[in-house]
Symmetry: C2
Subunit: 245 residues, 2 copies
Amino acid sequence: MLWGFAVLMKTSLEAILERLEKSSALEEMQSVAESIRDHYGVSHLVYHWVSSNGEQYGCGTYSMEWVERYLEKEYLRVDPVIAGCYNKFHPVDWKQLDWSSKGARQFQKEAIEYGVGNQGYSIPIRGPNGQYALFTLSDDTSDADWAEFTEKNRRDLILLAHAMNEKALELEPGREGPPITSLSPREVEAITCLALGQSRAQAAQRLSISEHTLRVYIESARHKLGALNTTHAVARAMQRGIIVV
Amino acid sequence: MLWGFAVLMKTSLEAILERLEKSSALEEMQSVAESIRDHYGVSHLVYHWVSSNGEQYGCGTYSMEWVERYLEKEYLRVDPVIAGCYNKFHPVDWKQLDWSSKGARQFQKEAIEYGVGNQGYSIPIRGPNGQYALFTLSDDTSDADWAEFTEKNRRDLILLAHAMNEKALELEPGREGPPITSLSPREVEAITCLALGQSRAQAAQRLSISEHTLRVYIESARHKLGALNTTHAVARAMQRGIIVV
DNA sequence: TGGCCCCTCGCTATTTCTGGGGAGTTATAA
DNA sequence: TTATAACTCCCCAGAAATAGCGAGGGGCCA
């Protein structure tokens, strides 16, 4: 059973068409997910990622009912796994997360009802352009058994997450071909200053150029990035990893 | 022989003090790097990362002369390995990189002179807040041998890169402790709209509130984030993963 | 129940940014 | 060699953001 949730952020004809185009790759990942689940004998395996353009995809072994419920209720915004792993580098046990908020508890209760399992282990992976993926195993077992399981298979899971990710990358739009917009060194410096909260006057002083020149850089960078204003340009530059703050 | 290049971006008293504080951890990583090099019988192993605050660190087995040369000449800005891996997710063989630019060829020539080796394999890893690390092996050997070596040890190296990274994270400033500022749902929505390039008027319309109210959210978010202006607030919110664009 | 935070709305004046225009030098690339 | 692009400087007028003030209703928690 295949499911993609490319519709999370926007429901459009393009999203549906894209999804169809990608269905064969997703199906393949789907079947791999089932194999992994069976191999490790856990309840579920889910791979879920946010593409560089903000679209979300997923494949895994959750029941269709749970996926629909998740989407319908917009649990993405409450799910502590999503929020908790976002700032993590390395594998995270669900027990380490913060389930204290009201929404999170409600979510947890429902998840267990839908057979997700009380234990979970998620491996976050990140790429440029805001790509963010989660490789998750969940099961219904005791704390001790789960700890032993994750400890034992930790390395395998990291490698599996990597492999899954490599596959998912094939679905990424414009990975190669379309040249990534590149800013000139000065433009990068200018945008970086703005991202640090400096006004144009301050930034110009810092770069030892006139404010007019600085403005030219910003305008130029804005156009290259296809941004509507300075704030947008900074956001895009950060998202694409062009600047680091 | 330990080397840290925390001074790349700024040379300040704080940088030096920080470096001293971290020296024991760096030394440990240094010795691990040497062990790995010996185990795999390659010429060099280097682990190099950009911390979330933009400071750069490294440890590895390059000669002190080469490191100094690299820093002195600011090769960081020319090095195709840095630039080429920045947008990559997965292990990269140096042969796949673009060595065509004038600066790159000069750099390559010197690197070989300093004993870096003609072959290299780098594994990029990313985390939130712009963290970006490279785990690199280099050697002096034929294309065929190198291909066989990397193919064979690929999985090991991914795991080693992960482990190294975990160690490096201990040196990250403010990983825990300082409570992460949280924005209210409305504030998040407001900041998100701005990050998407909307003006305040547009954002207000989109959220179906008055522009004045929207402004209150933005001001509030700005203060919570300790930001100097809207652009800065958006940058910080993105950096901390509070908003996703 | 009192305190705290979230959500909503209003006004004014000042500062800053944005969007047009043009122009010269240098360096790298075709 | 001639483009092409990067870097630098300048003017102006209109649009937008910022800083400061204030006010009321609703919900959650101790």
